[in-house]
Amino acid sequence: MTSRQPQSRFSHGGMDFIGAMFHNGARSSSRRTGGENHRMKSFARRFLRLLTAAVRDLMPITLVIAFFQLAVLQQPFPDLERVLVGVVFVAVGLMLFVRGLEMALFPLGEAMADAFARKGSLTALLAFAFALGFGTTVAEPALIAVAAEGADAAAEAGFIFPTEKAMQNYAFQLRITVAVSVGVALVIGVFRILKGWPIQYLIIGGYVLVVALTAVAPPEIVGIAYDSGGVTTSTITVPLVTALGVGLATVIRGRNPAIDGFGLIAFASLTPMIFVLIFGMLVGGT
């Protein structure tokens, strides 16, 4: 608690790329040298720039929907006022999120990678990786939705009795299966970063396993299994996990952040497919 290092910036100087517009103004210069006025100004300018970026990011989806609504379906916008309010919410939300990303999720992921590397306990690091994967996935709303639909499909296919209880049970087991698989994925992924193994052999090996399991798994589970790989990685988990991976690859000697730092998300999208296919065989095979 007490041994607070004097600001060890382990982040290899790359911070200035994205950081140029945030960190300079907020952290070092203005707080010490600049006055309150200057601080407010740079604050406002930063937010304005982020807001512009957010509006730009939302332009395509707005245009696509407007085009299809007006030109293809030739219908007026229902409730235009509500739509406009919604778009403002989305833009401001995206702006705040990106700002929070820079302030909290990235630095925290890096700081934890640094702290785990200092501590040097492999068990603690892997336990953290598993907990992060499992904990962030088990409550994921997208996963809950897919699991419920999966239970419907299973009842339709006759794997389970089409009762409320059996379906809830099945959906819950499916959720736990996916959450465990993401925990395992982060453990494997972190271990890979520590060892510096090339990622392609592991991922391609995983693909081969998916293909082999697809051939023997009941066909009703295949679509759900493939989709479950995509829904596991939520918007908050992704930046945190990415920063953790890059941070680990940065502090461990001999690892290149660009080559070894990425890839955790890839594992988190692959293992659910494998685990759900196996789950489908175990539950549906009887």
């Binding site: 790329f17 509500r82 919410f89 702006m95 990106v98 909290a104 293909v211 939520s234 660009a258 730092g261």
Partner: protein, 261 residues
């Protein structure tokens, strides 16, 4: 009044969403690492931004874009619309607007995906600027667009899902073999990142709508799979984008070398 209610409920839902993450981080920080992260105050404020930002983002989507997107997917797949274009008796080519819509919506939702913004910022930082934020995002969005359009085509024609995905894997393996080592992990990651908050609800609605209206398809079996398409194709497009830029750089260097002497 309704929007206030909605705002409060969505914010609390987002908070509930973040709760396990915060709990895990807290437990490991206090009991395992026993060290306060630097700039704790800043991190806490940042977390508040993330929760409020994501909450507002979701409310806005739910209020404005998702309802229209869903209705649109339903209207475009409705027999009335398809019949209006081409008369009666329809084959795969009568669904032309569906493919255009699938492509456009896949592209547009991916550009707005916050998780992808995060990864591209990180990629730019790590690569020292060699990988551009916008370039990567465009490449991923193009991949998702092609993937979703092809996925829609698959649902319309009723061909087998594993066949497409396995073929996709084979292409990815071939590309991996040729690609530079630096881009491979990032490309694999972008497959998983693309499908989050914005893309999944709209794309799922499209798949289920298509499977429900096309005779002979079951939403429960054929409705799935679009997300899988949206996860495989960005890997290809990012690897392709990297090879393309490398090729351009090489040919430019070659032409410069030829000019010099």
């Amino acid at each position: 009044m309704e929007i206030v209610d909605h705002t409060l409920s969505t914010l609390s839902a987002t908070l509930l969403d973040v709760a396990p993450i915060i709990a895990i981080l807290f437990v490991f920080q206090t009991f395992v690492l026993r060290r306060r992260p630097p700039n704790l105050r800043r991190i806490v404020i940042g977390f508040v931004y993330v929760v409020i930002g994501l909450g507002l983002f979701l409310i806005g989507l739910e209020e404005a874009l998702f309802p229209i997107g869903r209705t649109m997917a339903a209207q475009l797949t409705a027999p009335r619309f398809i019949g209006a274009v081409s008369g009666s008796g329809y084959g795969w080519s009568d669904y032309l607007w569906i493919y255009v819509f699938a492509f456009a919506i896949g592209f547009a939702t991916t550009i707005a995906e916050p998780a992808l913004i995060a990864v591209s910022l990180k990629a730019k930082e790590v690569s020292g600027g060699a990988i551009g934020v916008l370039g990567l995002r465009l490449a991923v969005a193009f991949g998702v667009a092609v993937g979703v359009a092809l996925g829609a085509f698959r649902i319309v024609t009723g061909t087998s899902l594993p066949m497409y995905i396995v073929a996709g894997y084979v292409v990815v393996i071939l590309q991996t073999w040729r690609a530079s080592k630096v881009i491979v992990p990032l490309a694999y990651d972008s497959g998983g990142v693309t499908t989050s908050t914005v893309t999944v609800p709209v794309v799922t609605a499209l798949g289920l709508g298509l499977a429900a209206t096309i005779p002979g398809r079951s939403p429960l079996i054929d409705g799935f799979g679009l997300i899988a398409f949206a996860s495989v194709f960005p890997i290809m497009s990012v690897l392709g984008y990297a090879s393309l830029t490398a090729w351009f750089r090489r040919s430019r260097e070659r032409s410069e070398r030829e000019k010099k002497p």
